[in-house]
Amino acid sequence: MHEMSIAQSLITILQEEMAKHRATALRSVRLSIGEMSAIVPESLSFCFEIIVQGTPLEGAKLLMDRIPLKGYCPDCERPFDIKDFIFVCPTCGSTTIETIEGQELSIVEMEVE
């Protein structure tokens, strides 16, 4: 259950960004959450709602996009979907692949007033 510390970090960043844009209220925020990050979206929403009570962030919707794992094989020079957490190129069997998507834990955009 580390969603509370993630929610805290998220709110710190949102407050900085809101100050930067002179926003008075937050309507929504969109996050990218990689398949590989160990986040439970429901827990994150729950923690977020508790912490923002009584702040200009109260009532904001947390929109979370789950990003599936994607790899790239430098030998075959092409991307592929990583299924069942098998980090091996399905074409040539190489294990020296790069993970290009699916490890995100980031903010994408916010809607403010």
């Binding site: 259950m1 580390h2 510390s5 993630i6 970090s9 998220l10 710190t12 960043i13 960004e17 844009h21 926003a23 925020v29 996050l31 590989m36 990050s37 160990a38 069942d84 957490f85 098998i86 980090f87 091996v88 294990t95 020296t96 834990l105 980031s106 903010i107 994408v108 955009e109 916010m110 809607e111 403010v112 007033e113």
Partner: protein, 226 residues
């Protein structure tokens, strides 16, 4: 109004972890982040490792637990500096908690610092503390389905120690399955099969770790000369 904000949510922690890492580099110190579920054998492995290496290496330990100082006391009995962090509920250590222990250590007198994380197979994998690499322990009593259930932990670790192999006759667990599934998740993973109770397999781990400490101090010497 929509505003594009492309920022990593964990950026604050990662910044602190980088600062910690820079400080450890200055002191030529190898730092490992030791993770496992509660009861897999982190403290036992540490006690054994300290006994085996303390005549050649100067070792320090940061102990992370939700409550109690019993682990730091166990380590301090081995005659090495140990600092206990009580997270008071948090399920993992982060960069800032590690930074707060710095006044307690004389890093210039150390070769190896081990950070023993809170027992948990999920959260510690997500937070860097400034380590060179992560080491995880899985005991055979936990079962062979753990790599597929907790892939992040196996993906983030450089080393997996499969512990309590002396219990294999009594538990339903296939070491072959653990090895196969963990290597699918992390083909670069170095795996040791050990028993902290009987000592089986630990020699290979000690040799490997000693090599990494040597490599680190050598790399830094070359850097400062070059």
């Amino acid at each position: 109004m929509k505003v594009s904000v492309v920022r990593n949510i964990l950026e604050a922690n990662e910044r602190i972890a980088e600062q910690n890492k820079a400080l450890f580099q200055e002191h030529h110190l190898l730092v490992i982040n030791l993770m496992s579920s509660p009861g897999a054998g982190k403290t036992s492995l540490l006690e054994k490792t300290i006994d085996a290496l303390k005549k050649d290496l100067r070792i320090g330990v940061i102990e992370g637990d939700i409550q109690s100082t019993s682990d730091a006391e166990r380590i301090a009995r081995k005659g090495v500096p140990a600092v206990q962090i009580n997270t008071g509920g948090a399920c993992h250590l982060d960069g800032n908690m590690i930074r707060e222990t710095f006044p307690e250590f004389d890093f210039s007198g150390l070769d190896l610092l081990v950070v023993e994380n809170v027992g948990n197979l999920v959260c510690p994998a997500e937070f860097k503390v400034g380590e060179d690499f992560k080491v995880m322990i899985l005991s055979v009593a936990e079962g062979d389905d753990k790599p597929s259930k907790y892939p992040l932990m196996f993906h983030e670790s450089k080393v997996l120690l499969i512990n309590k192999i002396d219990l294999l006759p009594y538990v339903e667990c296939s070491v072959e399955k653990i090895i196969k599934d963990s290597l699918n998740i992390n083909p670069e993973l170095t795996i040791f099969q050990v028993s902290c109770k009987t000592g089986e397999g630990l020699g290979a781990w000690y040799r490997w770790l000693r090599e990494r400490v040597k490599e680190k101090s050598q790399a830094l010497k070359n850097e400062s000369q070059g």
